[in-house]
Symmetry: C2
Subunit: 357 residues, 2 copies
DNA sequence: TTGTAAGCGTTATCAT
DNA sequence: ATGATAACGCTTACAA
C-alpha cells in the first residue's frame, strides 16, 4: 500500500460521509436526499425508499446532528439538569425513578437525552445548554446555572422547586409529612419522637440541630417536611425539641446509619423515628435490628419517597409515596406538549406497611 | 406597546445572542471574542477577563454547541449507548453503577453525557450518533445500532461484550460463576441445586429449560455463567439437570419472584439456589422467607453482581463482585485517554456474606 | 421532481 | 490584536 492509498483509507475511516457525497453517489441532488430524510411528501415513496436503503448501504445513516440543528434551530435533544452531581444522582433511587419516568416519555417521542449536572455547566467554556430544545430541571440548581438556562429562552419545566414564570411539577411536602407524622403519632400515648432529617442545615456532617437552627431556612423541601412534622406534633400536643432532630447532609445509607445509631442510643430512646427519606428510614431499621430493637413493636419508623426498596425490606416500610416516576413522566410531557406554563402539584399518598402500623 | 415593539421583544427572548452580536456590543472583533473563549494565549489576560465577564452580563454564555462542533469536528459530548431500553436501565442497579462510574470520569474531564438507547437510534431519521466524540457501548446492541456506531469511525469502548477491533472492558463470567458455585456446593454432601438464570433463552416468560436448550447459545453472559456453574458441579460430582434451571427474561424483582416461587415449591426442594444476578437472589431470599424456609440453614442462596442492596439485606447476600462502578470508570478513562484499543478483563471477587456460608 | 444557493454560528487562516 | 473570509454539513426557498 502506498502513501496515497494509506491516506485515502485513513480518510475513509475518519470522515463519515456527508449528504452531498451521498447525493453524488446516488446521482440525485442534495435537496432530494435531504427530503428523503426530512420530508417524505416531497418525493415519491419509491425514490425515497431507494435513497434510504442505498445511503444506509453506503454507510450514511442520516444528517449530521450538529449541522442539522444549526440550520433548523432545533436538535431533538432534551436536556435534563440535576442539582446534584451526576454520579451521585445515579446512586440515588429517587433521582433514578425520576429519570426513568422522563426516559419513558422521551423514547416515546423520539427525543434524545442529554444529562447535565449543574457543576459542569458553569465551569465549562462552551455552553452545552445551547443544544437542547428544552430542559427538565431537577432540584434547586447551584448558582447561575438556572439563569443561564432561562436566558436561552427555551421551554423549561422545573421539578421539586418553583420559580415564577416557569412550569413546574411538585408535591406538597408539608402535607405529606403532616399525614405520616400524624399517622405515626396519633395512636401513641407519650411518643418519644426523633427526626432524621435530610439537608436541614448547611453542614457537611451528621449532627443535631440547636434552637436557632429551627428558624433558619435552608433546604426548601426538608423545611416543608419538618413543618409538616411539627404541625402534626402540635395537633397531638407532643413536642419535638431541636436536639431530637438530626441533620444528615447526603441521602446515603452510610450517613444515615451514623445518624440512626446516634438517635437510637440516645436517651430517652425514641419510640418513633420520622425519617425524611426512605434511604434514611431503611438504614434506621437496619441499625435498630443490629441493636436488638424490634420494629415496629419497640420502634416505629416512617420514611418518605416510596422507593422500590421500601416495599421489599423486612419489615416493609411505612412511607409517603411521592410518585417520582410519575413526576418524571409529567415533567417530560409538559415539556414536549406545547408551551409549558402551568404548575402541577402531584398527590402524595400515605403507604402504611409494617414499620409503623 | 406597538406591534414592532412586541416583535422586537419576542425576538430578544427567542433568539439567544450570538458571538457576532456580542463582539459588536463589546466593540471588539469576532475573532477576539472567539479567542477569549477558546484560546486564552491569543490575547491579554485582562482583555479576556473583560470579554468573559461582559458577555456573561449580556447573557452570552459561550459559543453555540452545534455551530462549534460543526466547525471543529468535535463536541465535547460522549455518548453512552445501552442495549436495554433507557427507562429500564435506570431501574437496574447494575446499569446504574456503571453509569455512575462513567459519570465520575466525564465530569472530571468536563465532558457531557448523551444517553442513547439502541432502540431509538435505529428508528430515528436523524443520526444522534453523529454528535458525540466517542462512545461507551454497554451490552450487546440490537441490530444495526452497533455497526452504525462503528461506521462513524469514532473511538468506541464496549462493556460486557467484545467485538474484534474495538477496545472493551469485561469480566470473566465463567470464572466468577465457577468460584461461587464451587463455594456453595463444595461443603454439602448431596446438594439439591437449582439455577435461577437470566436471559438464558429467547422467551418472554419465566420457564424451565429443556435438554435441547442447554446446547443452544443465546445470551453470551448468561451462558458463560451457566458454564461456570456446570464446571463447578462436575468437579464435585453433582449434576444440574435442565428442568432445575429457570429462565428469567428480565432482571426485575417481579419476574424473579415468580421463578423463585416455582423453584422453591418444586420437589425435591432445592437446598442451593444459584442466581445469576443479585436482584434475582434477593427476590429468592424474600420468597424463601415468605415460605418459612430459613436462609442459609435450609437454603443457600448465591447472587452475582454485588449491587449495594446485596450488603444491606438480611441475611446479607453471598455474591460475586463484578465491580460495575469500576467498569464504568475504566471504560470512560480508556475512551478519553488516547486511542483505545486494548481489552481489559476486570477481576471478579467472591464476597461471602450470610446467605451462603 | 430537481438543481442552486443562501445562511445557520462558529473557528481558523491570512494578512494587516 | 483585528478584520475579512472560507469552510463545517445541512435545510429550504426559489427557480427551472
Amino acid at each position: 500500500m502506498n502513501l496515497l492509498g494509506y491516506l485515502e483509507e485513513d480518510i475513509t475511516i475518519k470522515k463519515p460521509l456527508n449528504l452531498k457525497q451521498v447525493a453524488a453517489q446516488l446521482g440525485v441532488s442534495t435537496a432530494t436526499v435531504s427530503n428523503a430524510f426530512n420530508r417524505p411528501d416531497q418525493l415519491s415513496a419509491s425514490l425515497r425508499d431507494r435513497i434510504l436503503k442505498e445511503s444506509a448501504e453506503l454507510g450514511y445513516f442520516g444528517p449530521n446532528l450538529a449541522a442539522r440543528s444549526l440550520r433548523r434551530g432545533e436538535s431533538g435533544v432534551i436536556g435534563v439538569m440535576l442539582a446534584d452531581s451526576l454520579s451521585y444522582s445515579f446512586s440515588d433511587p429517587v433521582a433514578n425513578q425520576l429519570l426513568q419516568g422522563i426516559a419513558e416519555v422521551l423514547v416515546d417521542k423520539q427525543k434524545q437525552l442529554l444529562l447535565l449536572s449543574s457543576g459542569v455547566v458553569s465551569a465549562q467554556q462552551s455552553s452545552a445548554e445551547s443544544l437542547p430544545d428544552g430542559f427538565v430541571l431537577y432540584g434547586a440548581l447551584a448558582g447561575n446555572a438556572f439563569n443561564q438556562i432561562l436566558r436561552t429562552g427555551k421551554p423549561v419545566v422545573t421539578v421539586d422547586f418553583e420559580s415564577s414564570g416557569t412550569a413546574s411539577v411538585n408535591i406538597d411536602n408539608e402535607q405529606g409529612a403532616f399525614t405520616i407524622a400524624n399517622h405515626a403519632l396519633a395512636k401513641q400515648q407519650h411518643p418519644e419522637v426523633a427526626v432524621l432529617g435530610l439537608r436541614l442545615i448547611d453542614a457537611g456532617r451528621v449532627c443535631r440541630l440547636t434552637a436557632p437552627d429551627i428558624t433558619t431556612h435552608s433546604g426548601e423541601i426538608s423545611r416543608s417536611r419538618l413543618a409538616g412534622y411539627f404541625r402534626a406534633a402540635q395537633g397531638l400536643h407532643c413536642s419535638i425539641s431541636p436536639e431530637r432532630i438530626w441533620h444528615i447532609p447526603v441521602n446515603s445509607p452510610a450517613q444515615a446509619e451514623i445518624a440512626a445509631r446516634e438517635a437510637l442510643t440516645s436517651l430517652p430512646r425514641p419510640t418513633t423515628l420520622l425519617c425524611m427519606s426512605d434511604v434514611i428510614a431503611l438504614a434506621a431499621i437496619r441499625v435498630a435490628q443490629s441493636l436488638g430493637i424490634s420494629v415496629p413493636s419497640e420502634l416505629q419508623v416512617t420514611g418518605f419517597d416510596d422507593i422500590p426498596e421500601a416495599a421489599r425490606s423486612t419489615p416493609a416500610l411505612t412511607t409517603v409515596c411521592q410518585q417520582s416516576l410519575e413526576k418524571g413522566r409529567v415533567a417530560a410531557q409538559m415539556l414536549l406538549e406545547g408551551n409549558p406554563t402551568t404548575s402541577i402539584t402531584l398527590e402524595t399518598r400515605l403507604v402504611v406497611r409494617d414499620s409503623c402500623l
